[in-house]
Symmetry: C2
Subunit: 361 residues, 2 copies
């Protein structure tokens, strides 16, 4: 398989920071993700990256990720072994050697989990993912939109328990795996959506890991050069600056294995006198400015620190933080009727139609 580059400990920092931005509030704390991946690379060596287009058609590709409420992930640091256990158990179940690891979702932790498996197994890691962002439920994968089944799926916890699913639909996989995850203490590791290289070329969101790295590097360099990190980030992502303000209220609870809630910002600077409220279920799903819906899932809503441009995850929202709300278009696969049905605002019970956001200039 054609490897286009290798990733070492140093590059991981940028990638995790970038993953957190695309995580749109979910996908886990980048600090934890970074530690997990760096530890694995130190132990097992560099991770080889392969481009989606360079996958052999008959290669067996398996995505991995962590499931659960980010609030729990932060308190219950994954060891990494569980991930490799899930991967190896799925390989055994499939009865065939897996050829490459794939990222299930972009996020602070979940852009990093595949690095742990790739390092431990020595397998190449595909530069891409199944969302181009983070989403709260596991049927919300571009893989699913392309007809790939989430099962056989293996879920492992930190205690050594393994649960294998073979379901009639990806929605059922989500329901049963969510119940198991809650029972396992709120977070679990999984391997799922096994597919061929040919199928991967149809449905992988390409270049996600290198985009994560570009995001992290952009922020780091802007800071180092005393530049404007948020502006540089917005320009890289072709993102709209939707709002700037301070958090005046946060409502947050962990229910049914999700971190759900709402955050309210009072405008500062150009946005003085205005208010923004953003609903989340692990990820930011819907933003309202002065009572009017301005952007919804599946388009991306990232809250970043007004100073540093670093992403703020839903579990690290704190009263008084000064944040900028950036919004930018999702991958076109999410804008199909099926994509909108699976991850649009109505799926989350919001009574609004999805209005595609144009890319900023």
């Amino acid at each position: 398989m054609k490897i286009f580059r290798e990733v070492d400990v140093a590059e991981i920092e940028d990638m995790a920071a970038g993953g957190a931005v695309l995580g749109t509030g979910g996908g886990g704390d980048p600090y934890i993700g970074k530690l997990m991946a760096q530890q694995a690379i130190r132990k097992f060596g560099k991770v080889k990256l392969v481009r989606t287009e360079d996958l052999p058609d008959d290669a067996l590709v398996v995505p991995v990720c962590m499931m659960g409420a980010p609030t729990v992930m932060t308190e219950k640091l994954p060891q990494g072994d569980e991930l490799v256990n899930a991967f190896v158990a799925l390989e055994k179940l499939l009865g065939r050697k897996i050829d490459a690891v794939l990222c299930g979702e972009a996020g602070g932790v979940n852009s990093m989990t595949p690095f742990v498996v790739a390092a431990a197994t020595g397998l190449p890691l595909v530069d891409g993912d199944g969302m181009g962002r983070a989403f709260p439920e596991l049927q919300m994968e571009t893989f699913a939109l392309a007809g790939v089944s989430a099962t056989p799926m293996v879920l492992c916890d930190d205690k050594g328990n393994t649960v294998t699913f073979e379901t009639v639909s990806n929605r059922w996989t989500e329901r049963l795996a969510r119940a198991a995850t809650v029972e396992m203490g709120g977070s679990a590791l999984l391997a799922f959506y096994s597919m061929s290289g040919a199928k991967a070329k149809e449905c992988v969101v390409r270049g996600t890991l290198t985009l994560c790295e570009s995001i992290g590097r952009t922020l780091r360099e802007a800071k180092a050069n005393h530049g404007e990190p948020v502006k540089a980030l917005a320009s890289l992502l072709q993102a709209h600056n939707m709002f700037e303000g301070r958090i005046v209220d946060i409502e947050r609870r962990t229910v049914g294995g999700f971190a759900r809630g709402k955050v309210i910002l009072n405008g500062t600077d150009d946005w003085k006198g205005h208010e923004m409220s953003i609903d989340f279920q692990n990820e930011f799903l819907l933003a309202m400015r002065d009572g009017e819906v301005v952007v919804t899932t599946p388009d991306l809503i990232s809250l970043v620190d007004a100073e540093t441009g670093l992403a703020v995850t839903t579990d690290s929202l704190r009263y008084g933080q000064r944040l900028v709300c950036l919004a930018y278009p999702c991958n076109p696969m999410w804008r199909t009727p099926l994509g909108i049905e699976v991850a649009g605002p109505r799926y989350f019970k919001y009574d609004v139609d999805y209005q595609p956001l144009a890319a900023a200039e």
Copy 2:
């Protein structure tokens, strides 16, 4: 394998009625159990019974049963296919032909579920079970007391979903399988505790199915001969008549996948002026007479109709029913320190010590 008898449609009636008595309120509605088993025997032919002592030491024996709240089982009639699916999936996972089917628990439905699998597969069914009664949780098996692991375990629902468990303890199997069962709608079918014939000889409660049949026949014949069914039943089981009365209050709710509650009887005849209250979690667990604990799990508490002696399950308790409370000793395996730890009153959070009940003369 030495078959000592065959069971046809006609004999099923007595066995299901007897299973419901040993079910101590749980284990499902015998009417449903009977229909499932009779339908399977009509379709596939008679079921061959083998005695535990006649199992070859190297035989592979697999128990099956239904999991869930009896209240749900009654509303959601199992098709039987799910059971066979779980059994076949476990056989595939074990990579070896299963030689005999075993009963996981005695109960109105669960003494019958193994007949469905035995009929459909043509395999012999062991005359025994893993409780000698019914219990609410799946680590409460004499198999577990003898060190057999519940996993690998396969759980199937009526929709076609299959979940496989490989856990670090039987308590964890219970937790994870209960969560999946709740998500699946409150009931599911499973195959678990696979063991050798040699191990089965150590830990199977022997003769349960023929005991169920004797119970059913005793009740049927006493009724036909205008005799006293309850007296005949008590004599057969060496059971104490603890109370006779009418239901004056029932408290019942389905929580966490269990039917939990309490039933209160006001005494009639010899027990006039007295009161009995019985707590249940699927099964009757603790009986108090005039405020004093008189019998607890793991000993058996059966509520039977004062006229017919037929068992009343926790989900069919109705205001005004005239019932007799019978109590009789559990299998000695439950009276070991481990047995009491696993299924004694303190496990269910009752602040009383287990006092072994003597057999009635």
